[in-house]
Symmetry: C3
Subunit: 311 residues, 3 copies
Amino acid sequence: MPPLEAHKDPELESLVQKLSAAIHSDHLANIWEGCRMPGQRSIAELHDQLLSVLFPGVFGLESVAEAGLNNHLRATLDALYAHLSQCIALALDFSARQGGVLPSTHPDNPCAAYEGEAKTIAREVLFDFPQLRSILSEDLVAAYEGDPAASSVGEVLLSYPCVQAIATHRIAHALYTRKVPILPRMLSEVAHSRTGIDIHPGATIGPGFFIDHGTGVVIGETTVIGRHVKLYQGVTLGARSFDKDDQGLPIKGIKRHPNIEDHVTIYAGATILGGDTTIGKNSVVGGSCWVTTSIPPNTVVMSERAKLRHR
Amino acid sequence: MPPLEAHKDPELESLVQKLSAAIHSDHLANIWEGCRMPGQRSIAELHDQLLSVLFPGVFGLESVAEAGLNNHLRATLDALYAHLSQCIALALDFSARQGGVLPSTHPDNPCAAYEGEAKTIAREVLFDFPQLRSILSEDLVAAYEGDPAASSVGEVLLSYPCVQAIATHRIAHALYTRKVPILPRMLSEVAHSRTGIDIHPGATIGPGFFIDHGTGVVIGETTVIGRHVKLYQGVTLGARSFDKDDQGLPIKGIKRHPNIEDHVTIYAGATILGGDTTIGKNSVVGGSCWVTTSIPPNTVVMSERAKLRHR
Amino acid sequence: MPPLEAHKDPELESLVQKLSAAIHSDHLANIWEGCRMPGQRSIAELHDQLLSVLFPGVFGLESVAEAGLNNHLRATLDALYAHLSQCIALALDFSARQGGVLPSTHPDNPCAAYEGEAKTIAREVLFDFPQLRSILSEDLVAAYEGDPAASSVGEVLLSYPCVQAIATHRIAHALYTRKVPILPRMLSEVAHSRTGIDIHPGATIGPGFFIDHGTGVVIGETTVIGRHVKLYQGVTLGARSFDKDDQGLPIKGIKRHPNIEDHVTIYAGATILGGDTTIGKNSVVGGSCWVTTSIPPNTVVMSERAKLRHR
């Protein structure tokens, strides 16, 4: 943008100065200064590129015909590799400056120092995609088999919000395990915004995972979920409480969220809390249950329902 | 897209081959191949065209002035009729190939065989619109009369998420009752993504329907809702459980969701389950109630609240 | 748009006439006629302009470098001031015609009569922004300190949905307190659609406010929230019931929603109802609690959990 002259309207110009001062002078000014990360809309575009490689034609405008598949993949991967590498480099820079608090050492090209590392990580993650695609196929089949309203696996692929939520999570988790900062969370928020399903990139989730409806689901950072687990809307896999340090701040990096073993089903609105809470394999947690201790395998847990008063 | 040469970067080219193989070789490869449906973003555009005929100017960029109404309708209906017909034809093709599992018989023009049928259905649905518009007016008035925070019916029209959710549902249901596959679900997911309100296209819903706030509402496929029913956020009208066939798969096509009679109000977070559960007319279901048996007419049902422990 | 000729397809032309008649003849026709408000997509653009002044580069495509900050603010404020003034003028016109029921007195330029008043309000609101920015900084720090999963304040800014929800609310509230009709609600719905957090513009909310995850949160019009309050997903701050007038319509404008004092924490899924319900300062309301009477300060309130039945 070429430099603009000051507003002819002196009041608006004074507002520019006041806003600029507010951004600079509050105790968070540096955060903004360090914040060279692409904006949320740009990360949403990266998100859509990533998904269009895993499921060509499903989330965008155009279907992709069989004959054009390899060309679609070539063109998309080319752009994606460049875009993903750049975002990773900026994320590494952002983190090195403690979340943007420290000034950039290379203000004109903040990601220069991280280019090589970023490209290596971007390649590793992209080379995970063939395997991710196979796991996501298991997720699709699990949805079809788990929902009487689904008339085909194709219907699941085209119209179930969990597909986007879980595909995004598997990508974000691949970045998270390679210690890419901030970017995985920005990607998972794109899916959260569109689906109402909030999965922290740190969560470990096995294949054959199905979330029906999904709005309001929250899955915390240190959750571990086995194979062929099924959740409904409004399920929270959360923290019971968290320890605080000497300054009263929550201690980061502790196992705070539950373990869900293979073939568990958790119905709508159930809340399962705590890092040492384990739901044993093949168990079923009924709707709206509140669970803060472990449940053995092969168990059905139902909440004693409050009596209804009729008038 | 003209054929691209292989990547100069041999690693990326090898990734193209691996991804292509993963898409082809897993047991869902055919689903993708058969999936000639337009992508979700394209269906979102169709969705917006449909709504802009029912409520000109409300959901898009521009308001539509009185004098320009008929021209707006002409221009939009022209494009909409073509777009809707094409999507219906592709949906019929998709379903004929069992959700995309079978290869297309006309790979170059998959919807050719369904063009006539699709146009007939598209016309029928569009000719329902004048009546849908009248029913939606009743919905708007019900919202205004049901919410003390609404200062005019116009405010409801412009700013209540239930307007989009219910308008989309009434269109999707008109397609569903004419046995159009997949497309109604894709349309309802557009509204679900934007509003957090998940209404299956199969649900039958009378006029004067109001959902306040709406996030987390789930209304299942075989739900039947009468006239002037009011729901709040987080209400589930769902299935109690479902029968499985010899192979352990849920049996599709059974009445699984409840009946809500005329003038019923259901407060936030209530869960009503089961295909033989009926909430009788004029009844009220209190917030967070869990209901799995029928409630007679003219009854107020409240949950016995859990005692609160103070510390 | 130049006048279009009638459709060559006489059936489609008859549909234009029928739709136009439905829009004109139902008892809500006037609403549409009066509805010169910009469409929802246009208000979403206004929303994004407003946020890009408070947090340059965070929500859009591009990051904004330190050196370009003042130019970014100048260019954005220029466009924003014009856009905001116009929307306020149209909103005042909309309201003067009782929510669009009365015909416009200046159909060719409906906002002419309100131009001066609208510009005054737009300036006042924009001049609130430096102070809003400081309050929002306190919100960001509260989120960082309140969530063990947050590794920096910058991560909160870039990836927490509550940032958008709360920033939008603080702007919408500044318009609401200046009695701008309809526009604040349309803005808050943009944020609700993207975050699942539904805050009525009328709610009064102190600094240091944090909502974690957020999907399903509903905060009613007359809620009053103190300083450093923390909410989790699915919390409702709502009305217990509402009085009706002689015609059975809910009476508008009564205090219906609760008061939450300083340093209160409310866990996921709790419901707090009633205009005379106050949660005293430093108190904690446990997950899924149902609260309809006041809680004294310094109190922890937990729900007696329903027993779980194992099978």
